[in-house]
C-alpha cells in the first residue's frame, strides 16, 4: 500500500508540474486548462457527495449556475466585482451556492438512493427554468455577457494571470476537501455511505451530516460557477442545463469516485476530448463514448482504480505462483 504522504507528494508534484508547463503552451490550451480547472472544482464537489457520502446528485449545476449568474449579473448590471470587490463576489458566490443547497437540501435529503437522484434532478431543472424564463434578471435564452475580467493590481484579463488565479482556487479547493474528508466529520460521512443505519444506531445524526455535506458541496459549486463565468465571459441557461450536472457526475465516475483527484483527472480527460480533440477530428464523440463505456466495463473504480487493480493482479499472480511452488514441493 502506498503511504498517504507519498500520495500527497505525488499529487502536489503533478500540480506543480501542471502549473509550470501549461502557461508555456498556446493561449488556447491555457484557456482550456483554466476552464477545466474551474469545472473540476464542481466535479470534486460532486465527488464529495457521490464518493464520500454516497449521494448521487443530478442537480449540481444549480449551484454552479447561481454562482455564475451572480457574477454575471453583478458585473453587467451593477459593475460589482471588476476590481477588489472581486473577492466579495467570490465570497458571495460561495454563500449563495451554499444557501441554495441549504434550501434544496431540505427537499432532497428527505429521500435516499434513486429518489434523491430524481429530486435533485427536478430541483436542478427548476434552477434551469428560472434562468431560462426569468428574462428581466437573467436575459433568458440570450444569457448575459461579462465584458471584462476583474483587475485589481493583478489584471485577470491576462490569460496567464487568470490561469494562476484559477489554479490557486483549484488547488486550495482540493486541499480543503481533502482535509474535510479525512476529518472526523468526513469519516462519519464515509460511515454513512457504507451503512447509514449503523451510523444512526451509533448515535450519529446522519441527516444533519448529509445536510452539511450537501451545503459544503453547494458552496464549492458556487465558487466553481464564479470562476466559470469569468473564463468565457458568457453565462446562459446552457450553463445550468441538466447536461452540466450529468457531465460533472460522469467525470467523477470516469476518474474514480471517492478520490477527489479522480474528479480532476476525469474533468481533464473530458475537456481534452470534448474541447481539444474536437478541434482536430470530427469523430471525437465516438472516442468520448468509447472511453466512458470502457471505463464502466473494465474499471468500475474509475481511472484512479488502475493502480489498485494492477496491484491486485500482481498479487494474485504472485499468490498463484506461490501456491504452484507449494504444490510442487509437496509432491
Amino acid at each position: 500500500m502506498v503511504s498517504q504522504q507519498l500520495k500527497i507528494a505525488m499529487v502536489a508534484t503533478a500540480l506543480v508540474a501542471f502549473a509550470s508547463i501549461i502557461p508555456h503552451s498556446g493561449s488556447f490550451v491555457i484557456l482550456l486548462a483554466t476552464r477545466a480547472m474551474a469545472f473540476a472544482i464542481l466535479a470534486m464537489s460532486v465527488d464529495l457527495l457521490l464518493g464520500y457520502t454516497g449521494l448521487a446528485s443530478m442537480g449540481q449545476a444549480a449551484y454552479f449556475g447561481v454562482g455564475a449568474y451572480l457574477t454575471a449579473i453583478l458585473a453587467a448590471r451593477f459593475h460589482i466585482g471588476l476590481g477588489w470587490d472581486f473577492w466579495l463576489v467570490v465570497v458571495l458566490g460561495i454563500l449563495i451556492g451554499a444557501a441554495l443547497a441549504a434550501l434544496f437540501g431540505l427537499f432532497a435529503l428527505r429521500a435516499g438512493g434513486d429518489y434523491f437522484l430524481m429530486i435533485t434532478l427536478a430541483l436542478g431543472q427548476c434552477a434551469w427554468g428560472m434562468a431560462y424564463r426569468w428574462n428581466s434578471l437573467t436575459g433568458g435564452d440570450n444569457g448575459i455577457n461579462l465584458n471584462a475580467r476583474p483587475s485589481f493590481g493583478l489584471d485577470l484579463g491576462n490569460a496567464v494571470t487568470f490561469f494562476y488565479l484559477v489554479f490557486a482556487f483549484f488547488a486550495a479547493s482540493m486541499g480543503l476537501m481533502y482535509v474535510l474528508v479525512r476529518s472526523p466529520f468526513g469519516r462519519s460521512l464515509t460511515g454513512i455511505r457504507e451503512r447509514e443505519l449503523r451510523m444512526q444506531i451509533l448515535g450519529y445524526n446522519t441527516w444533519l451530516h448529509k445536510y452539511i455535506a450537501f451545503m459544503i458541496a453547494g458552496g464549492f459549486g458556487g465558487l466553481a460557477g464564479v470562476l466559470w463565468a469569468l473564463t468565457n465571459g458568457h453565462v446562459s441557461p446552457e450553463t445550468v442545463v441538466l447536461t452540466t450536472s450529468v457531465d460533472a457526475l460522469l467525470m467523477v465516475v470516469l476518474g474514480g469516485a471517492g478520490t477527489l483527484v479522480g474528479a480532476a483527472v476525469g474533468t481533464a480527460i473530458v475537456f481534452g476530448l470534448r474541447e481539444y480533440l474536437s478541434t482536430l477530428v470530427p469523430w471525437w464523440q465516438y472516442v468520448l463514448g468509447g472511453v466512458y463505456v470502457l471505463t464502466i466495463l473494465y474499471l468500475p473504480m474509475g481511472l484512479m482504480g488502475i493502480p489498485s487493480r494492477l496491484r491486485q493482479r500482481f498479487a494474485s499472480q504472485g499468490k498463484s505462483e506461490g501456491s504452484k511452488r507449494l504444490a510442487t514441493t509437496l509432491s
Partner: protein, 416 residues
Amino acid sequence: MTNNLRKILLGSCLALGLAAAAPAGAEELRIGYIASTTGISAQVGADMVNGFQMYLDEHNGKLGGADVKLIVEDDQAKPDASVTKAKKLILQDKVDMLIGGFLASTGYALAPVSTAEKTLYMSTVSSADDLTQRQLSKYPYFLRTSYTSSQPAQPLGQWACEQGYKKIVTIGADYAFGYESVGGFQKAFEDCGGKIIQKIWPPLGTKDFGPYIPTIKADTDAVFSLMVGPMSLQFPKQLRESGYNKPIIGGGTSYDEFALPFMGDEVIGDVSALHYSAALDTPANEAFVKAYRAKYGKVPSYYSENNYTAAMWLDAAMTKAGGKFPGPEQFIKIMQGIKLNAPRGPVELDDMRNPIQNIYIKKVEKKKMFGYDKDELWNVVIKTYPHVSQFWTYGKEKFLEQPVYDRDFPPCKFCE
C-alpha cells in the same frame, strides 16, 4: 554512391515541395467558421457550411484572389462552447475573421469576443435584433449578412392587415427569437388597425400542442405561428386535426425549406414571410437551387442561401480590397459599400450593418418547379416587399426609441 543519390533525390523533392507550398503572390485569407455540426442543430449546421463551401468550390477556393483557408469548428449549439471555439480560432489558428453562428444566443455570445479580440465577426444566420440595433455601438467589429428576427415579421403584419384580418392569435416559441418575431408582427399588424387578441408561448421544442390548441380563441380570423425546427412539423398538422379551418400564417422558420419537404398536404395555402424562398422565380435563384440540389441532394434552405451569399459578399469585398484582408475596420467599410445580386435578390448593408433586402410573402403550394419532374411543396412568392430595412417603415430613430421586442412588448392591449 546510392546514399548520395538518395540525398540528391530527397533534396530536390524537398525543394519541389517547398515551392509548391508557397505559391508566389497569392495572399491567404483565414476564415474561422462556427457551426453546430453535432447536437440537435447538426442539420442546420450542415446546411450552413454547405452553402459557404459551395461558393468556395465554385470559385476554386478563392475569394477576391486570396486563397481561403476555411477552418470549421463545432460549437454543439451551445453559446458557451462557441466562445471557446472562437477563441481557439483567433488565438491558435490566427484567423482574419469569424463567421457563422446559428442561435441568436450564439450571436450574443460571439459579438463581445469580436470586440475583445479585435477580430471581425460576421453573423451569417444568427438574427438577434439588438446586435444591429441598440447594442451595436458595443460591437464595432460585428456585421450581419442574414436578417433581424423582426425584419420579415413586420411586413407580414402589414400584409395580414391588408388581407382584411381583424383579429389574430399568435402562438410562438418561448424564447428571444420567438419574442422578436411575434413582437414585430404584432407591432405592424396593430399599427395598421388589426388586433392581437391572444398570445400563446409554448416552450421551445414543444411537440405536443394538445394543451395549447384548445385555448385558441374561436373568434380569431387567423393564427400566426412562430415555430422552430421539429415544432414546425407538428404544429400545423395538429392544429388542422383539431378542426381549425381558418388561415394559418407564420414566421419564416415555421415553413422554411428545412421543414417543408417533411410536411404533409395540410400546409398547402399557409403563408409565411422571409428574406429568401427556394421557389423564388429568378434565373439567379434557379441556378443556385439546381446547383445546390445536384451537389447535396436537397433544396437549399435559407441557412444555405445566407452562407452562400456571405461568401459572395466576402468575394466582392476582397476583390475591392485588392485580394488582401485590410483589417476589420476597413473591411467593414468596404462591405458597407457593396451592392450584391444574391440568389435572394438585391441586398446591401444599412448603416447599422444589417442587410436591406426584399422580404417575400410566400404561400405553400404543391407544384413542379425549375423542371423537376415531381410535385413538391414550394414556398411560392405571392408578394415582394422590396428594399426592406430592419426598421421597416418606422425610421431608424423612432424605431430605436422603443425597447427591443420582448415577451411583453408590444403589450397585448386587446388580450382579455
